[in-house]
């Protein structure tokens, strides 16, 4: 809600010559791909809306890295065990010392994250006998990408 919400465009103060000049300079910088203090931000926003295709090798590397994290090394397991023991002890102390539920604690955020679930509800008719698997994969990935973004926001403490 801004102070301008109940005003028409014509009621707003007209731009000053300096503002017009700055806007013109920004437009020219964007069109020519030149440097400008605000141009980088606007280009980043454009990538957010319409990202360029990911290089297959980069995509493969990202997938490999993410999946690799799923299988910790032998040494990693020992470290993880030690960390888990310390965390479990710390969690126990916190729980014993706490007197009641605190809505700002991590478990509440964890509870509100979007969970994994069946994709059946995305489909409203039996699958074609041949073909169509790729489009089903697209649909599942697209839907879960939305949930993934929501979870990123929630983990960052932002209500999407």
């Amino acid at each position: 809600m801004t102070v301008y919400d109940d005003k028409g465009w014509e009621e707003l103060t007209p731009p000053t010559p300096q503002e017009v000049e700055q806007a013109q300079a920004l437009r020219e910088a964007l069109e020519a791909g030149e440097d400008h203090p605000d141009a980088d931000l606007l280009r980043s926003l454009r990538f957010l809306e319409n990202p360029p295709p990911l290089e297959p090798r980069v995509n493969e590397w990202l997938v490999h890295r993410a999946l690799h994290k799923m299988a910790p090394s032998h040494r990693g397991r020992w470290v993880a065990s030690g960390v888990a023991a310390a965390l479990a002890l710390a969690a126990g102390v916190v729980v014993v010392l706490s007197t009641g539920p605190d809505p700002t604690t991590a478990p509440v955020v964890r509870a509100s994250l979007v969970s994994c679930r069946s994709t059946q509800s995305l489909f409203h008719e039996p699958f074609d006998r041949h073909g169509g698997t790729s489009s089903r994969m697209d649909r599942i990935a697209r839907d879960r990408a939305r949930d993934y973004r929501t979870n990123l926001f929630l983990r960052g403490g932002v209500q999407p």
């Binding site: 297959p56 995509n59 990202l62 997938v63 993410a66 999946l67 994290k69 799923m70 299988a71 065990s81 030690g82 888990a84 023991a85 310390a86 965390l87 479990a88 002890l89 710390a90 969690a91 126990g92 102390v93 729980v95 014993v96 539920p101 991590a106 478990p107 509440v108 964890r110 509870a111 994250l113 979007v114 969970s115 994994c116 679930r117 069946s118 994709t119 059946q120 489909f123 409203h124 008719e125 039996p126 699958f127 006998r129 041949h130 698997t133 790729s134 089903r136 994969m137 697209d138 599942i140 990935a141 879960r144 990408a145 949930d147 993934y148 979870n151």
Partner: protein, 187 residues
């Protein structure tokens, strides 16, 4: 001695931590179900890319190469606690079974179906699709065996195809009925 001490500390911490499950008014981390995270998105991205790659290979007649690409998806055995992973694997196995059926690899295609049925949720389109694919492959097998002069084998395969199609229809009917009743309840 040190190891015993670490174990004791770990056990105490664990028991203390588990105590939080007795608080009914606070959501507890120990009740956590898997959430949509980077690992799931990476798997879905991999599956998506593999299926599109298999499309292109199939279109250019390279069915064996398409099978090889999809095999890389179904060889993934982690994250089976996530419904999305199980369903994507089941759907991929149905496609693999179809491709192997096209190559006359009857035993392998049936193995894919069995694996897929272990993963697909009961009474879902995924399950119905797997039975339908079993029917398609048995139909192909019946035709191939009849051409080879194996009348008895062809008859058996035909009977299995009919049973599989019948099962597919039953499942799809039940899913459609459920869908319609859900829609009715939403109105």
């Amino acid at each position: 001695m040190t190891t015993k001490l670490i174990r004791l500390v770990f056990l105490l911490g664990l028991l203390w931590g588990m105590g939080c499950s007795q608080r009914s008014d606070t959501p507890c981390v120990c009740e956590a179900t898997p959430v949509v995270d980077t690992a799931l998105m990476a798997f879905l991205s991999k599956a998506k890319a593999a299926h599109h790659q298999a499309d292109l290979l199939e279109q250019s007649g390279q069915v064996d190469a398409a099978i090889e690409v999809l095999d890389k998806v179904t060889s993934f055995t982690q994250m089976s606690d996530r419904a999305e992973v199980r369903e994507v694997l089941a759907d991929t196995l149905a496609r693999l079974s179809d491709l192997r059926g096209q190559r006359g690899q009857w035993e392998e295609s049936e193995a894919d179906i069995r694996k897929g049925l272990e993963l697909a949720p009961s009474g879902s389109y995924f399950e119905g699709h797997l039975y339908e694919m079993r029917g398609v492959n048995e139909e192909r097998r019946a035709k191939a065996q009849a051409e080879q002069g194996d009348a008895e084998g062809a008859q058996t395969a035909r009977r299995r195809a009919i049973e599989a199609f019948e099962r597919a229809i039953q499942i799809q009917d039940s899913v459609i009925r459920r869908e319609l009743s859900d829609e009715g309840a939403d109105r």
